[in-house]
Amino acid sequence: MTTPASAESSLNANPTFSLLHQDLPNRPLVVMQPTRSWSLFDFKELWANRELLYFLMLRDLKVRYKQTVLGVAWVVTQPLLLAVIFTIFLGVLVRVPTRGVPYPLMVFTGLLPWTFFSTSVIQAAQSLTGNAALITKVYFPRVLVPAAAVAARLVDFTVSLLILVGLALYFRIVQGYQINFTWHLLIFPLLVLLMVLLTLGLSILVSCVNVKFRDVGVALPVLVQLWMFVSPIVYSADLVPERWRTVYSLNPLVGLVGGFRASVLGTEFPTMAITLSVIVTLILLVGASLLFRRTEKTFADIV
């Protein structure tokens, strides 16, 4: 019983051709030995495995929305519902000051990066432990697992972005609010990049710590809720007193969300906060990567 495979490749026709000893590389392709040094990711290897990232992300999305009636509509439901609730309580009843921007628009602009950030981090935390079967059976760059969780949420984010555009047009055209579309809009892609890097950094960190200390996965949803209120999501950063502003801006979301609002709604551009946000993001990303690289070799033993 021979399958078509045997006749297919020219290699097979000449069995040992490629495997004669002179064809073996002089230096090993792969060396496995205990290492305890600090290193960053092997970007060449990550690039070689980009298809795996794509398929892991695709699996996440497909599995999530299979057998749901609303399907992708669920993606926008969460930020939209939250926006409605906050608009009723904070916008209409409490009347949070917004410097002339319609509250629903302000809160939705904040909820957009926030939803991406929070859902990514919470899901990434469980991603390595959730894929234990994969990690204990086959080698691949482990960081792709939390990265895929983040990538899948980026797809959700893109869908929600369309809602934001619709919302902005509605308030400008129908309600007649003055929204300044300025050159800040050009910075938007860079802000999205910052948002992704920040989320990726924290996701990498929590995912590898959660392999050993499952407390992280349990505590994270609570911490994230608290984080929402120390970030200018449902209110504007202007509410924070001037002298506390620098300390407040150490929270990288302050600069990020402020930047989103400046870019989309034409509010004042928070240069200091964004600078701090970039610095914190880079430190987090490098630190998380180093820790992940150092611990990833033990994942299969303890996951």
Partner: protein, 434 residues
């Protein structure tokens, strides 16, 4: 010739604490640190809670070699495979690979029940390191091999378990690395598909690729591998031609491949019957590992009946080197046929006549069953082995023929001949004419 895989003094240590409690909580770590601040960093060095899954394992593999790992459960085979597959890293030592490797420690890694067969093929291929282009090129072949054409766009949760396993193996079987690392994947599907898998593995070996293979099936190892390494207690206990290593493994506890004994704690069986031993003997009741093809051989099992009132039928399964069951023999001795056996120790012997089996290694499985209603009290497949040797002396079925002699059995059949000399026919014809 240079090696494609070089394993140098590899050891792997596991902490028993981690094995029992797969993860720690932060509080545990903090408490440990508080209780014994100076031991915190060296916790893993205290000798009582660590075990060595592998200890100083070294070997080299040449390109194109098909190498089998054998050993009991827990001997360290899987750990070694995980290190070779880069899933986990060694505690000490070094492994060098001089070729692209692909590993298959489980069929269907990354399969998701909600995804369709098509989606899972791409998913699984990506996980196993097959580029999308290559999967596209081999897609039809994979689907045809798995025999799931009609269901390829159905979520695999609707697949039967056989279809699921076939699809999973099909993807893996079309991997194309220079070094292929395979763990126990042949035990999938029905026996027809198992043979197909085995054939596929054999093809891979013949293509000159380097294959590392772990299986509990001695027959599969014997068939596929030219060389075997026996792992015992985390160390290399044997390394050489497959036949020799398999035999020394089967020799196991009683120092003979031709016999296995169990102590009361580990004996296979239930509360009705328990297996004590299985051995191969010659005509003089002496234990043998090989028999002359012309002489009869005795399969002997000793078992204990613990509960009265059961009609029991001991039986032997005889397997060829390829794992094919040649035949099954039931005890038809009228003394016990249909009669409940009182508790006690029984020794049952089945005689295979001389000039019946073909030369080669044969594996024997032993079972005791109740036939009506069917109940298997124990069944130990391929538990002992023996060799049938043809010394090319007179008296064998081979006669004077010296070449390779095909056939899974070689029975001495009774031949009869009717002969009419040429002259005689002519004479008869003449007689008829006249």
């Amino acid at each position: 010739m240079r090696s494609i895989i070089s394993v140098q003094h590899v050891s792997k240590k596991f902490l028993i604490g981690r094995l029992r409690l797969p993860y720690q909580t932060l509080r545990d770590s903090v408490m440990t640190a508080i209780k014994a601040p100076f031991r915190f960093r060296n916790r893993s060095d205290s000798t009582e809670d660590q075990i060595w899954a592998l200890k100083d394992v070294s070997f080299e593999v040449k390109p194109g070699e098909v190498l089998g790992f054998i050993g009991r459960n827990g001997a360290g085979k899987s750990t070694l495979l995980k290190i070779l597959s880069r899933v986990t890293e060694p505690t000490s030592g070094r492994v060098e690979l001089y070729g692209r490797s692909g590993s298959l420690l489980e069929v269907g890694t990354g399969f998701h029940p909600e995804l369709t067969g098509r989606e899972n093929i791409f998913m699984n291929g990506a996980i196993l390191g097959m580029p999308r282009r290559e999967i596209l090129r081999k897609f039809d072949e994979i689907v045809a091999f798995a025999e799931v054409e009609r269901f390829i766009d159905t979520p695999v949760k609707h697949f039967s378990s056989g279809m699921y396993l076939r699809l999973a193996f099909a993807v893996a079987a079309h991997l194309d690395p220079e070094i292929l690392i395979v763990d126990e994947v042949l035990a999938v599907g029905d026996s027809r598909f198992q043979r197909k898998c085995l054939q596929k593995m054999e093809d891979v070996g013949h293509q000159g690729r380097t294959v590392i293979f772990v299986s509990h099936s001695m027959a599969a190892i014997s068939r596929l591998c030219s060389r075997a390494i026996l792992i015992e207690g985390g160390r290399v206990a044997g390394d050489g031609p497959t036949d020799e290593v398999v035999n020394s493994y089967l020799r196991g506890e009683t120092n003979s491949a031709a016999a296995r004994e169990w102590n009361s704690g580990t004996a296979p069986g239930n509360n009705v019957a328990r297996l004590h031993s299985v051995k191969i003997c010659d005509e003089d009741d002496a234990m043998v590992a090989s028999v002359d093809i012309r002489h009869p051989v005795a399969l002997v099992m000793e078992f204990e009946v613990l509960e009265p009132g059961h009609v029991l039928s001991p039986n032997f399964h005889i397997y060829s080197e390829e794992g094919i069951i040649l035949f099954v023999s039931n005890d038809l001795d009228p003394q016990w046929l249909g009669r409940p056996r009182p508790p006690g120790i029984y020794t049952s012997t089945a005689w295979i006549p001389g000039n019946f089996l073909a030369e080669g290694t044969l594996y024997v499985g032993a079972a005791v069953s109740t036939l009506d209603p069917v109940m298997v009290h124990f069944f130990e497949p391929q538990i002992v082995a023996f060799r049938v040797i043809d010394n090319h002396e007179s008296g064998s079925v081979r006669g004077d023929y010296k070449g390779p002699y095909p056939g899974v059995v070689r029975p001495a059949l009774k031949w009869t001949t009717k002969y009419a000399p040429v002259g005689a026919t002519a004479a008869r014809e003449e007689a008829l004419i006249s």
